[in-house]
């Protein structure tokens, strides 16, 4: 079964810590995405990547950076975690070009709490 795997389901970090959220996909997809999801706000795009070492800002990139050194792995980095970054983080991937026959495939999410 093809999938997108996020390294942690739950994470608790302290304010000011550098936080790494890892995402791996096994579908050989070119495109990968990071979203955050907050109650009443839906999913908001943070960053996306359409190729190795390529990245583009989404709607809310402030306070985040990303890394894509290998095709299958897309990392989200919180340089200095703050309490307003407490959220559910979702990684997704899709094949090149159009949405693909099955659209985006999402991971199960990482619920990050910054204290």
């Amino acid at each position: 079964d093809v999938k997108v795997t996020q390294s942690s389901r739950y994470l608790v970090k302290r304010t000011g810590e550098k936080v790494f959220l890892e995402c791996v996909q096994d579908m050989d997809h070119e495109n990968m995405f990071w979203y955050r999801q907050d109650p009443g706000l839906g999913l908001r795009l943070i960053y996306f990547s359409y190729d190795v070492k390529m990245k583009e800002k989404g709607d809310i990139p402030e306070g985040y950076s990303v890394s894509r050194e290998k095709k299958e792995r897309f990392s989200l980095i919180l340089e200095s975690a703050s309490t307003n970054q407490t959220s559910m983080y979702l990684c997704a991937s899709s094949p090149k070009g159009r949405q693909g026959p099955n659209g985006y495939t999402f991971g199960s999410g990482t619920r990050l709490t910054v204290v």
């Binding site: 583009e56 070009g97 949405q99 659209g103 999402f106 991971g107 619920r111």
Partner: protein
């Protein structure tokens, strides 16, 4: 980027057919319409995708009128396990330079009652 509007919530009873309509007045020629389902504490899951007319799979049907300014997700004979948030997305997902990506709205919370 085509924006979508869908009801915030809907209630239904087990065994009924549920229709959720999404408005996307400024849909572009290359845009597809895709619906996702999300359960609590899980990532969204693809349900169905279409471009025009009607698409049906083992889970749902998608009805798209000729002007493509709206679409309707139809879930036949819902069960309690269909309680979830349903998202309508519009876009072609093409990536080139600064092309924008699919935007998720707040979705429709469907609650199926016994």
């Amino acid at each position: 980027l085509a924006k979508t509007t869908q009801p915030i919530s809907m209630d239904s009873y087990e065994g009924q057919e549920v229709n959720i309509t999404c408005s996307h007045n400024n849909i572009a020629t290359n845009d597809y319409i895709t619906w996702y389902q999300q359960f609590p504490s899980q990532g969204p899951r693809f349900i169905i995708q279409g471009y025009k007319t009607k698409v049906t799979n083992e889970v749902a049907s998608l009805f798209i009128p000729a002007d493509r300014k709206s679409s309707t997700l139809s879930l036949p004979r819902v069960s309690l396990s269909d309680t979830a948030v349903y998202y309508c997305l519009v876009g072609d997902g093409a990536l080139s330079g600064s092309a924008r990506q699919l935007t998720f709205g707040s979705g429709t919370q469907l609650t199926v009652l016994p």
